[in-house]
Amino acid sequence: MASGPTTGTSTTGGPDLVETPGGAQPGPKPAGVVEREFTVAVRSQRQMILRRFLNHRLAVASLIIFIALLMGSLIGGRLWHYGFADRTGDYSQPPSLKHPMGTDDIGHDVMALVFRGAQKSVQIALLVALLSTTIGTLVGAVAGFYRGRADALLMRFVDLVLTVPSLAILAVLASVVGSKAGGWFFVAIVLAGITWAPISRVVRGVFLSLREKEYVEAARALGANDRRIIFRHLLPNALGAIIVNATIVVAVAILTETALSYLGVGVQRPDTSLGLLISDGQGAAQTRPWLFYFPGLVIILIALTVNFIGDGLRDAFDPTQTRVRA
């Protein structure tokens, strides 16, 4: 998929700066070989996107912090010398060198709890992003490409998913499956069951406009079948919209998962999650604020960096939105 056409703009409506008529054929263009009247360094679409993203300092900084958070949450719990279920014998200690985030009233090290909670939240968020992006892209691609009855049927289904306040459905579903073994896995599947719907709408919109482009017609004339057109020609050009939406899903999934756990229907004890930690720490916010602040700050940091990365990606994929002069 990644070796798709390197020319052609990524999203709808933007001026096709690089595209020559029928130019989005598969197979890489030999970069730098092209003779031009004016000598300009030829950059592939992917290089330009990467350059634009790297120029977005906030997004790059967010990416670095996010990767650090990701690593920390996935392996930090294993490295940290307290387990999340360990009783340390220190009760309600404020943050210190021994316990950088303090301890709670039954002697848990808050740092260990936060590591464990962040691990669950990040696992859930990444799985949700993967699942919902895949499903949403497939549904949107089929609906947008084939139109007609398939489109109508799929989009009515999307309407159905979006009509009901999703938190209610999630709470019902999560309360059914959340208490089962491997709870976080089911919570992720349940979340993905809702979050694919908006993505499918976006992808459908992009596909509806892309399928009318000349290069699709050209590909068809060359004898490409539907599958080839969808996967080799349309999908790479819809990639920008898909990736940006995937980042939004990560942020939404983290916030929703913590909310569900806060309401008591997400991740269940004896396991822990950032939402559960905040729910526990809320009552102690006055007397032992570290129980309340640290889990919340970790959630905000994860969601904030993901949102900034998404913003940088959006600008990188579609520069027409930013260069506006007031």
Partner: protein, 326 residues
């Protein structure tokens, strides 16, 4: 226009039915609603359990139960809770409590979002714009319950301490045992409303202000605004009469789309501030596997979402003369 409204209402009926079937099946299969009653010590006599099963129609097959529920719903009866009380009267009371918060928060969020969005757009790329942008992203990345708890446990309590008396209440929707009419208690209601409203509004405000900013930027860069300036109209007149009027229209759709999410946010906000509203009803309904209660919440919310979207579409057509619903 009337035909459009009628058609939309007819189309939404199957959506409502389907989502009710879905939720009915989910809650019904999630477990035995009388488990708590049966686990009581000393165990209630079989006759008591049997009587309760009969009252809730649990002794009938599932399809029949759904049929009875639907039949009752059409007649305006939402059935009984597991405890045997009437769902509708409880729901009606709670609806008022929640609606108070939701409507106020929406108005608050819209006004704030428009002001911030417009200022951001007009002063694009200034320090003010960056500050608003960062604040927007921050609120977007903040869990509702964390913000609520922060306001409640830290700020409000400090504020009340500083003033020396309780100005803003942190728990409940009104002081228990309040007597007198609605208007004499208005001050008490308002003091309870402050924090939940700010909490609920903050989250929607974030995305709406971002949206308003880009919508305003689009308009400011359009030809007719430049023409209006070129013709010699004052800057403020162009801003308000020409640009703002047009830039407000797209926000209508976004607010309508987000309405479901606001209802979800209200569930969490109610939990944080211990309100006895619809959200509490939903959560207790889900945890006690009370089908009628969850369905009642769902129906009210779904009707509200559908109705709200319909109003938005009608309003949109009214505001934007280019759109005509046939």
């Amino acid at each position: 226009m009337l035909a459009f409204v009628v058609r939309r209402l007819i189309v939404s009926i199957p959506v409502l039915l389907l989502s009710s079937v879905l939720v009915f099946a989910l809650v019904t299969f999630s477990g035995d609603p009388l488990a708590d009653l049966k686990a009581k010590n000393p165990p209630p006599s079989p006759a008591v359990i049997h009587a309760r099963e009969h009252l809730l129609n649990l002794d009938k097959p599932i399809v029949t139960r759904y049929g009875i529920w639907l039949g009752n719903l059409v007649r305006g009866d939402m059935g009984r809770t597991i405890a045997g009380t009437d769902v509708r009267s409880d729901l009606a009371r709670r609806l008022l409590v929640t609606a108070r918060m939701v409507i106020l928060a929406m108005i608050f969020a819209i006004i704030l979002a428009v002001i911030v969005g417009v200022i951001s757009a007009v002063r694009q790329y200034t320090a003010l714009d960056y500050t608003f942008t960062f604040a927007g992203f921050l609120f977007l990345s903040m869990p509702v319950f964390w913000l609520g708890a922060l306001l409640k446990e830290i700020l409000a309590i400090k504020f009340n301490d500083a003033v020396g008396r309780t100005v803003v209440y942190t728990v409940g929707d009104s002081t228990p045992g309040l007597t007198g009419g609605f208007f004499s208690n208005l001050g008490n209601y308002a003091a309870h409303l402050v924090l939940p409203t700010i909490t609920l509004a903050a989250i929607s405000f974030a995305s709406w202000s971002r949206f308003q900013r880009s919508s305003m930027l689009d308009v400011l860069n359009s030809d007719y605004v430049r023409l209006a300036r070129a013709k010699g109209l004052s800057k403020s007149r162009v801003m308000v009469r020409h640009a703002l009027r047009t830039a407000l229209i797209p926000l209508v759709t976004v607010v309508a789309i987000d309405f479901g999410a606001i209802l979800g946010g209200a569930v969490i906000t109610e939990r944080v501030f211990a309100w006895h509203g619809m959200g509490e009803l939903l959560i207790t309904g889900i945890t006690s596997k009370d089908t009628n209660v969850v369905l009642a919440w769902l129906m009210v919310s779904a009707v509200a979402v559908i109705g709200f979207n319909l109003i938005a579409d009608v309003l949109y057509a009214y505001l934007d003369p280019r759109i005509r619903h046939g």
